[in-house]
């Protein structure tokens, strides 16, 4: 596919895109219905007195964007699969350029393709689940996504199959005014297990902008375990609007680990509907905003069955003129007794201009519920700084240590060593304003420091305890 649609979003554009892809009628209908919703839905503008991030997203000029821009190879491209991964999919702007799956998993019935292929080859599965976890009418951006989605990942794990190594998806943007409407659809059948890692990145010419509008839907059937990890590390110029939602059924869980580090402007909606009894949906989030970055995070833990649980923990660092707005909601449906739900958000401000808002809230309609929320916002403690400096650590480095320490408790919750190291490197790079990327010795040094922290137990072998 080398075709490119005309700029801007129109009904004719929806039809042209569907024709270009040779889609069945049912998908065109879904797209057109989403387009209707898009046209009727105003852009969300946020609440009174917020930090203006949703308004900024709403003001983004969509008419200059190219709804579909194909790049290079088509979805038949093959890539080597790294040893620690069991599957890989790469999307470059609008289309998927590569996807690979461990043949042993294919033999067990695991499916990994781009979603366009899945529409043709697995229409029953796609029709059953597509945009039911995140419906087109969730907001204006999900409606636009429903009309213009392209590429993305379809991952199906059959009953009882345990995929031990992660499946990785890479979503890239590198053309001015390009769009990436990746749609991630993960279906984990009963008692299956899968770890998914999504990485987003970009390299745009200076001054150019592009849009990432991604939707992810996760369905975990009875007893299934899904771990969803997303590292958003877009470069400058990217508007990043995402909606991710998981639906765990009886005794299953969906665990989210999300890190938002890049992009000029981010609006991320992330939620779980605990639909089956005994299900769980924990969220761990890491935010780091610098320069003039804007990040708005909206989380939802929706408890809709008996004995469900969720724990949402976000840690954010805001520097320079950046702004972070966090809104978290715990919602407990009538009859969702024995719910356990927690929500906390902690922010460290590194500059006087940095701003952060945190609005956690509860809507509880059952009476046997344990739920709590908490939020803190503060600056680097002068006594901590003095203490570290009194031990010879220069101020700049002492600040970095305190920031690393602030993130450490959430990083420890990340089960994948690879992902944890990656995040640590990204955090160090942000803290040093990118100056350390070029310095090889510093890289080793920094990695080493973290390693000591993690590997301390065996790093210091001392026979016998005293107490």
């Amino acid at each position: 596919m080398t075709e490119t649609l005309t700029k801007g979003f129109t009904r004719a554009g929806v039809e042209a895109l569907s024709r270009l892809k040779g889609e069945p009628a049912w998908m065109l209908e879904k797209r057109l219905a989403a387009w209707e919703t898009y046209e009727q839905t105003p852009a969300p503008l946020g609440r009174r007195g917020d930090l203006g991030i949703m308004r900024r997203v709403a003001e983004y000029k969509l008419e200059k964007l190219v709804p579909f821009a194909a790049n290079g190879a088509s979805s038949n491209g093959h890539v080597a699969l790294p040893a620690w991964e069991s599957g890989l999919l790469v999307q470059h702007n609008s289309n998927v350029v590569a996807s690979e799956l461990d043949p042993l998993l294919s033999a067990q019935g695991v499916l990994l393709t781009d979603l366009d292929t899945a529409v043709r080859e697995y229409p029953d599965l796609v029709q059953k689940y597509f945009m039911t976890g995140v419906t087109a009418n969730t907001n204006k951006y999900t409606a636009l996504h429903g009309a213009f989605w392209s590429g993305g990942l379809f991952l199906y794990v059959p009953k009882g199959v345990k995929v031990s190594r992660p499946v990785l998806a890479r979503y890239l943007l590198d053309q001015p005014d390009a769009t990436n409407f990746a749609h991630t659809l993960i279906i984990a059948e009963p008692d299956s297990q899968v770890i998914y890692i999504e990485e987003t990145a970009s390299s745009l010419p200076e001054g150019a902008t592009a849009l990432f509008n991604g939707v992810a839907e996760i369905f975990a059937k009875a007893g299934a375990h899904v771990q969803f990890n997303a590292v958003q590390d877009f470069g400058p110029g990217v508007y990043n609007v995402t909606t991710k939602h998981g639906v765990p059924e009886k005794d299953s869980y969906i665990h989210w680990i999300v890190a938002d580090l890049g992009a000029d402007t981010t609006l991320a909606n992330l939620g779980t509907t605990m639909a089956g009894s005994g299900s769980n949906g924990d969220i761990v989030g890491v935010l780091f905003a610098t320069g003039k970055q804007l990040i708005q995070i909206n989380t939802l833990s929706e408890h809709a069955a008996l004995s469900t649980s969720a724990d949402t923990l976000f840690k954010g660092v805001v520097d320079d003129d950046a702004r972070v707005d966090f809104e978290g909601l715990i919602k407990v449906a009538p009859g969702a007794q024995q719910t356990n739900s927690y929500l906390s958000d902690h922010t460290l401000l590194l500059s006087d201009q940095a701003r952060a808002e945190s609005i956690p809230s509860l809507e509880i309609a059952a009476n046997d519920v344990k739920a709590s929320h908490g939020a803190t916002t503060g600056q680097i403690d002068a006594e901590q700084l003095f203490y570290l400096m009194c031990r010879g650590v220069p101020e700049e480095e002492a600040r970095r240590l305190i920031v690393q320490g602030f993130f450490e408790p959430v990083l420890e919750k990340i089960p994948s060593d690879e992902l944890r190291s990656r995040l640590r490197r990204s955090i160090v790079r942000k803290m040093t304003k990118g100056t350390q990327v070029v310095d090889e010795t510093e890289w080793h040094d920094v990695t080493d420091q973290w390693d000591i922290e993690g590997a301390g137990a065996e790093a210091v072998q001392i026979a016998g305890g005293d107490e």
Binding site: C390, L401, I402, D439, Q449, E453
Partner: protein, 279 residues
Amino acid sequence: METQTPVQVAELVIRDLHANVEDKEILKGVNLTVRQGETHALMGPNGSGKSTLANVIMGHPKYEVTEGEILFKGVNVLDLSADKRARLGLFLAFQYPASIPGVSVANFLRRSLESVREGYDPNAPTAPTGKAEKRKSVNPAEFRKLLQTKMELLKVDRTFINRYINEGFSGGEKKRAEILQMAVLQPQMAVLDETDSGLDIDALKIVSEGVNALTGPNLGILIITHYPRILGYIKPDQVHVMYQGRIIKEGGPDLALELEQKGYEWLVGHLDGNQEATA
């Protein structure tokens, strides 16, 4: 003996030091000299300015020095940030050490050791920045061995070093952690600010033995205490008594014993309300 090769002895010299906190004068002309190899005790009732002096020696930004000087190895340290003072060889064991969540004792101490070993030379044409990329890293095996030795010395539990700095430490653990850091960093001049407070008798013994094991010709100690109790374990060469921001009495180890028997009232009773009192 006068013709012997002169030995460089690090000296902490405090001259006519005045310092304010929030425009209130706390130190009102302190004079004190501690040489490497000596142990001095600074005693005095609560609120006399002892902890302020400790913090001013290390350069806490909360205090403003209005007059006087602090020289260490001949360098006026008042111009230096706290990290540079540490790299010059000064150490402060805090009365109330800050806890730093997410940073383990081992991790931090290794970075600290690297920094302190790099040192600070105010006369170097390009003074070291103390930044990690310019610093020689401490060999992990060597560091492990050093830590192990010092932890045994201070009877520190081995799980201790993997914990976050002072986070959830008991009072006694915090004080032991401070002395452990001193043992690892090997400063030339250490100020121990109320290291005995909050310790039970067993912990006091362990900490004192630890300090005694570190004393020697290379270490000068200024031990700040309210109670003479710790001086039963750590023998000072000289005792200074501070009151209302000045040193009002100096003497040998016997002074501590005398204070133990008579209390501070004996010294300060007649000074109350007399702002012109001098040493």
